[in-house]
Symmetry: D2
């Protein structure tokens, strides 16, 4: 069996090794291979790729070229070809089961993807200063999922130990593409949590200070991720600009209009046009523009109200320039609150491992498509929670200078371990 070159065993070491090689959504080949190999070594039963992900539920999957490139890069880093072969079309999930007699099915979810953010190259930024910054330009673990993955592997090791006392079935879900809200649904649709009694996910940081644990994240927002494509007509920018239909100006007006959508007196909203790519040449009227955007709302009703406005804005901006417009769905997530039973268990586990400060609820601010798992588990009679593990941050999530207090990692490992042992 091929070996992922030099992959460490301690949680901080694993986090740093993962940090160096960030992979974006549905392209986490080297990460998934590391995970699978380690879990197999620990004796877990593995299901990988298409076995646990429904391809038809994958929104905005990568191109074949991007997949081939990511696979090659993973192989070049020493990923085992047998793992890569099992994830043919961006299905980079790994689900690991371990059974210890009768008892509840407890599932833990860990997300593994990185972001297309350029990591800061400055001595003030610890990953750079200490030599574990991203080696892949323009990609970065800027949301702590490197930590989440490392925590999951450390928890897997702890619970696989004979000393660890628990009964029933343990299921570890290493999910791709949490960013953008694309990765959970294909797993849910494949039935991965249909028999789960207890489900937990969690997140580092989120402005909760080091040393604290929150029994529940609240404020999960409903969200839509989509691309908008404007198609116009090119023309010589000086000889006959009047013959062009300007997709770039349509995108610019749409971007400004989208950010100018009204706040909602009934609850939180967010909107972001994250990228614009428009035009081909300086002296040609731009005939093509693509924007990547998202919008979020505190309730399903607010999301629906935003959806109407977003549609009006992109249609209107297109009409202003007489260009065609198309909207491509790329991700969704739903808002759901952790349930009381799950919160009780987190509080109990945090107490058991000696966490000094346990807060009841803490606003997560953003979203996490773990909510799809949570909804499915609850619909089928189980309990579902989402906790936060406090970690001081060097900068906000998604910033190029993001980093977190690694002292939170062993706390998280103990917390998840205790959750299973107490189930």
């Amino acid at each position: 069996m091929a070996t992922v070159r030099g992959f460490p065993h301690d949680v901080i070491g694993m986090r740093r090794a993962l940090h160096r090689f960030p992979e974006c959504g549905f392209l986490e080949y080297r990460t998934a291979a590391c995970v699978a190999e380690r879990l197999a070594e620990l004796g877990y039963d593995l299901r990988i790729g298409p076995e646990v992900m429904r391809a038809d539920a994958m929104l905005a999957p990568p191109t074949a070229a991007a997949i081939a490139q990511a696979q090659q890069a993973a192989l070049d880093m020493g990923a085992g070809p047998e793992w890569i072969a099992r994830m043919p079309e961006g299905q980079t999930a790994v689900v690991a089961d371990m059974r210890r007699g009768a008892g509840p099915v407890t599932a833990l979810r860990f997300d593994i993807d990185a972001l297309p953010v350029a990591e800061a190259e400055s001595d003030a930024h610890r990953p750079f200063r200490e030599g574990f910054a991203s080696i892949r330009p323009g990609r970065m673990h800027a949301c702590g999922h490197d930590g989440h993955t490392a925590i999951g592997l450390a928890v897997a090791a702890a619970l696989a130990s004979p000393e660890s006392r628990w009964r029933g079935t343990l299921r570890l879900i290493f999910q791709p593409a949490e960013e953008g809200g694309r990765g959970a649904l294909p797993l849910v649709e494949a039935g991965v949590v249909d028999d789960v009694d207890l489900f937990f996910a969690g997140h580092l940081g989120c402005l909760l200070p080091s040393g604290q644990v929150a029994t529940a994240a609240n404020g999960f927002l409903w969200a839509v991720k989509q691309d908008v494509i404007f198609r116009g007509a090119p023309a010589h920018a000086a000889m006959a600009p009047q013959l062009g239909r300007n997709a770039l100006l349509a995108a610019a007006a749409a971007a400004l209009g989208l950010h100018a959508m009204p706040r909602d007196g009934d609850g939180v909203t967010h909107v972001n046009v994250g990228t614009v790519r428009a035009g081909t040449a300086r002296n040609v009227i731009a005939d093509h523009a693509v924007i990547e955007m998202e919008y979020r709302g505190e309730t399903e009703e607010i999301l629906a109200s935003l959806a109407k406005r977003v549609d009006d804005i992109v249609q209107g901006a297109a009409r202003m320039q007489d260009v065609a417009v198309e909207t491509i769905p790329c991700g969704r997530s739903i808002g759901i609150a952790p349930d009381r039973e799950a919160m009780r268990r987190v509080a109990e586990a945090a107490g058991r491992i000696g966490v000094g400060s346990v807060v009841e609820e803490w606003p997560i601010g953003g979203g996490d498509d773990a909510t799809y798992f949570m909804r499915r588990v609850r619909e089928r009679g189980g309990h579902a929670g989402y906790c936060l593990i406090g970690a001081d941050l060097s900068a906000g999530h998604h910033a190029g200078t993001f980093d977190f207090d690694e002292a939170a990692l062993p706390v998280a490992v103990r917390l998840f371990t205790a959750l299973v042992e107490g189930a």
Copy 2:
């Protein structure tokens, strides 16, 4: 000597062969190799690359990676490695001299570059229907420079023939990077036309119908090409958007503001934001945006007035988002009118070859950095002209459906030949 594979000899065949393999500014390696090889075969003395281009006058040269890729692509198409080797850093000009005793130095300029435009894939588009459409996605000869290059080679052959009667020195200048106004100045600065007595350039099409020749293009505009880079700060789009400084919205406001600059009661103006590239991820406040833009004016004064406004707009748009902004000069061209003596000679030559309809002046609408040659020649006491060869068009210059009536090609060949023979 390596041979450019299957390069034809007739002007229409040459045009189509060039059309299939479009190369953008300072990357015309295969085109230049074809040109050089043919001219060498015809007995011209060649100067290539750094011999005729001052690198320090090349605005916005391509990256080393782009150059390497273009060189390899040219080699793959059969370009002679000895030619490629002589054009190390994007200096893809070829200047060919032939001397027949004492007499004036007559220079003809032909531009060879293509555009980053996607060619139409439709049976209504002749190059596609007849199988000579671009084989390079996103690049296209959408302004007729394939025709210009073919004309230049055919003129070279005609004038090299012993039957052709002329005296003095003939200089053929195959210039890269006319689009964007970047290619002429490095040649001028290298002194390529310092000893020229008569200079001619020309253009196909420009809305002049097939069968006609214009003795002069007028309305050459002064132009500036520049990139504008906005640099802000990223942030999580939902957890803490207030921490971001949004470069994308700065670029959007700048694009709208630039296109909304006032017309000028004193003469023609044009402006185009041709491309925008902004942001990295959907759920991150965009911290980076680049726009490629140009602006043009009928006089140097109008250009200066626009320059002031452009600066105000990009500075103001940056201030609105509290982002930094930088402007990178990428090209310039100047306005100059063909002189009377040059016009007289074009009219005389057109009459000699039997052109039915000779118009005196015809608006070119855009610009051409041939004006830098024209100014230098005139400053040193020579005459400089710029004629138009009528060609019915299928669509406007720079459109993905651009094509021209190839019947114009032999007319142009005869006209330029006659200009030299009459000099």
Copy 3:
């Protein structure tokens, strides 16, 4: 003594009489005259105009012409000239005291101003259908302050009755210009609440249903109201548009930019550009533009962060058009929470009068400059509350179809009466 013609005595009648004649901030001459006359009849000691308002604390006072016009309109409606004479420069506040021996000083605040909103002329709109709609085009009691004023007068009558049992000093404050946050501060600065032990204000509606009372409004936002004036240069729009400096486009870019300010992950924000007035003629480049705007934030820190962005946006928009810009402060309000003692008293009073449903806190959504009174009272050792009296609405506050369930009026009268009697 002159009599305000036909002003009724029942609370619904008073509300409707006030509704027909809406007066905007600092111009409530007829309203204040009605109030003063009635309170004088009831035996209150009155302080009016400059006696209770510091002119130098009045932001954005009306012009002398607007004041003269409002005074004349009030006189035409039968307002007593002796009252009008006491409010020379827009100081339209009336403060009424009644003393019954030793005891606490209890103050009630009622706001009296209307909005520049056009009232709906439709049979679906009860004030129109039943004949008490505004007779003043473009002005309307669209926020219920007509009800507040009527409640205040009915409370004044109830507490002036010999049967009403209370001790100490009662102070009724009829405040102008609550909209825009301009009216409270001049009263506070004049010391009107410096000796107050208990202070209460309240609001009808705010989405609280009829039959309910909220012991506290929460979510008072910090707010800034300001005008932004852009000054450019005019020019003939066709002969020489380039000579103009376009204040209208600066205002348009600023309006879009302001609405596009990011949400804040730390709390609620709001922004509104409520009006734009720009330019003078169709064929002249607009040399002048004025926008009336406001922004609000959940905390003082968020407000400060918005202030920085607002400044960047208006400065940047001005720079884009090379126009001058000036910001005129027009109002501020602060966020403060009702205190526990005040909430307890509202709950007790609501119980005493038999309100079926008492909720503890209810989001007010907007702001109310009653917060200035509340802060001053608390700074000097008193208690300050703000309650909501539920009233079903026909449309949102500030809409042209706004109306409220008048059954709430007697509830409010009993509640405020009970608050004083229980003090």
Copy 4:
């Protein structure tokens, strides 16, 4: 007969008297009364108001209130009530005929309206310094029509003199509402020039220096003037902004979009959003916005192309905010060139009166709805010209500091007199 108080007889005096009392389109009551009274004194046969203007061809007539106010202001200035009575609904045209036997019908057109521009109050501005600046705030003769009117009256006096030698019929047309292109068509539709053999109009200034005359203005643009009304829904800007539909932002986006319309490679275009009026209150989502705009093109085809774009932009901007939009036509003018015979006569007359410098054609830059007269005269077999009388300017037309060299006035008087005497 009533007398217009103190109206002088010399051309400069008349110009200054008119300058002090500017009246905008269709409201020129005092101006028309002065004109009518003087022409009646001189013995001309007058037709006034509805006799020479078709009401149904008056675009965007003023409101009854504005007319009543203008009439009263004119009466207050001493205008004869008998004249005011003959112009009931804004029909402020005066057409005066004088007949001297058989011969051609020669018509001269003079425009009389002012602009809604605030006149500069600075000693650098001669009308202010010398005490003849506008006494009406916000209105100004900023295009020289005060001069045109004075010229017309002086020409009327000169040609009414027994010494003046001419035959046929002289028709003097004093036209209202030239600005905005509204005044000529109602006169043309009433048949005022149907029998005219020779028609002349003219303009002072237009960047032609003092002492020169241009035999023709060229570059008359086709133009459309229109208002665009956006209607949305109001809402409380903080409690429920999501319920609003924001007409102000629609207008802002439209204004930016309209100014950003592409230039046209086929000829001159212009666009201006001259005014925006939006919203009613700072804390209410603006439910109403009106923009006054115009666009112009060198040819009827360009105008049609712009019309399509304008419609797309206003419809698209409305869609972006989900507001209704309506376009109100407010004026049109057409492009037409003066004919050769008319030019010849201007050149001849200019020579006869000793003008030193006669240029053949001079760009007018803007438009003048005199073109409607010109087209009708030519359609019926006559000749029509438009000359320019050079006059140094202190600032561009329509600026608040506009003023012209009054030495041009007697030149213009002699030129028009000579045109009639030479007819």
